[in-house]
């Protein structure tokens, strides 16, 4: 056992690592089935968000046209909140 592993073992005895809850495990499993190997980052998502929302409001199949955006929104709560907020504005405030 190297020094780092030894220190880690001592740390785990003094302060045992927190357990991941059952709910968290199931939540994690829920997104695995549709997961794509390819991904876009939060910044890349942000770049496309206005375009995506307009397509959705225009009744174009935004998810089909921009599948990586949809996948990111399905797995990232912060980006999804921003998407929902923007969608709400465009739907309610500026009906097309």
């Amino acid at each position: 056992m190297n020094l780092r592993a030894f220190i880690k073992k001592i740390q785990n005895i003094i302060n045992p690592p927190k357990e991941i809850s059952n709910e968290t495990i199931l939540g994690f499993l829920r997104v695995l089935e549709t997961l794509e190997a390819e991904e876009i980052s939060c910044d890349e998502l942000y770049e496309k968000l206005d375009q995506y929302v307009e397509r959705e409001v225009d009744k174009k199949d935004a998810a089909l046209l921009m599948p990586l955006v949809r996948e990111h929104l399905d797995t990232c709560t912060d980006c999804c909140e921003e998407y929902e907020a923007l969608l709400h504005i465009i739907q309610e405030n500026e009906p097309k």
């Binding site: 991941i20 709910e23 695995l32 939060c42 797995t75 504005i89």
Partner: protein, 212 residues
């Protein structure tokens, strides 16, 4: 308020005279009309902090729009792009206020709390189903322990159990939102590959928890 094309917005905001001031005032009105919809999940206009937040976000949005004007590529309506900026500023501010005072230790302390009803404690599930669920969770938990790094586990605890915004979790973990998203994406891919080698389909695990 004058209706403008994208080109007109850009030209007016780049002008150096009264035209620019008028465009800024019109844009201020556009932002303030949109923000209540964006904030509706978080705050109602009756709440005392609503007006101050709208003013603060509007001002910051105008500054950022002027600063980033050259980056607008015309892929959407100019006003949609502006609303997007306002939404980012508003939600970042709301999240920051909500989580500002919590330390990482405090947030992970409650992780030992018992699982909510509906899982193992589901009183409608028979003993066989309960045992099967328990066995399956033990298997998946072992796989997670073996496959995920400490950092991936820590991120999972913060985002899963505490329902913490990814931006705040990133700050707590001393990283950024992009990097944390990638960390979790990699964790999901690793877990999916490993589950496949152990012949465990996520769908089957989830179905087990849906049956009574």
């Amino acid at each position: 308020m004058a209706t403008r094309t994208n080109e007109a917005w850009l030209a007016d905001l780049r002008a150096n005279d009264e035209t620019r001031n008028m465009a800024l005032e019109d844009l201020r009105a556009v932002i303030q009309k949109g923000l209540p919809y964006a904030l509706s999940r978080w705050l109602s206009p009756d709440q005392p902090q609503f007006g101050a937040l709208v003013d603060e976000v509007t001002q910051e949005t105008l500054l950022r729009v002027l600063d980033q004007l050259d980056t607008f590529e015309g892929r959407s309506q100019f006003t949609t792009w502006v609303h997007k900026i306002a939404v980012r500023i508003a939600l970042t501010e709301l999240r920051r206020k909500r989580w500002r005072d919590s330390s990482l230790d405090e947030l992970t302390e409650n992780e030992d709390a018992p699982p909510p009803p509906g899982l193992l404690a589901d009183s409608h599930a028979g003993p066989e189903v309960s045992a099967e669920r328990s066995d399956m969770l033990t298997r998946v938990r072992r796989i997670i322990e073996e496959e995920l790094t400490d950092r991936q586990r820590q991120a999972l605890i913060l985002l899963g159990m505490q329902d913490m915004p990814i931006e705040d979790a990133a700050r707590k973990l001393k990283t950024n939102r992009n990097a944390l998203y990638k960390l979790l994406h990699d964790a999901r891919l690793r877990l999916r590959t490993r589950l496949a080698t152990e012949d465990i389909a996520p769908h089957d695990v989830l179905s087990l928890f849906e049956q009574k």
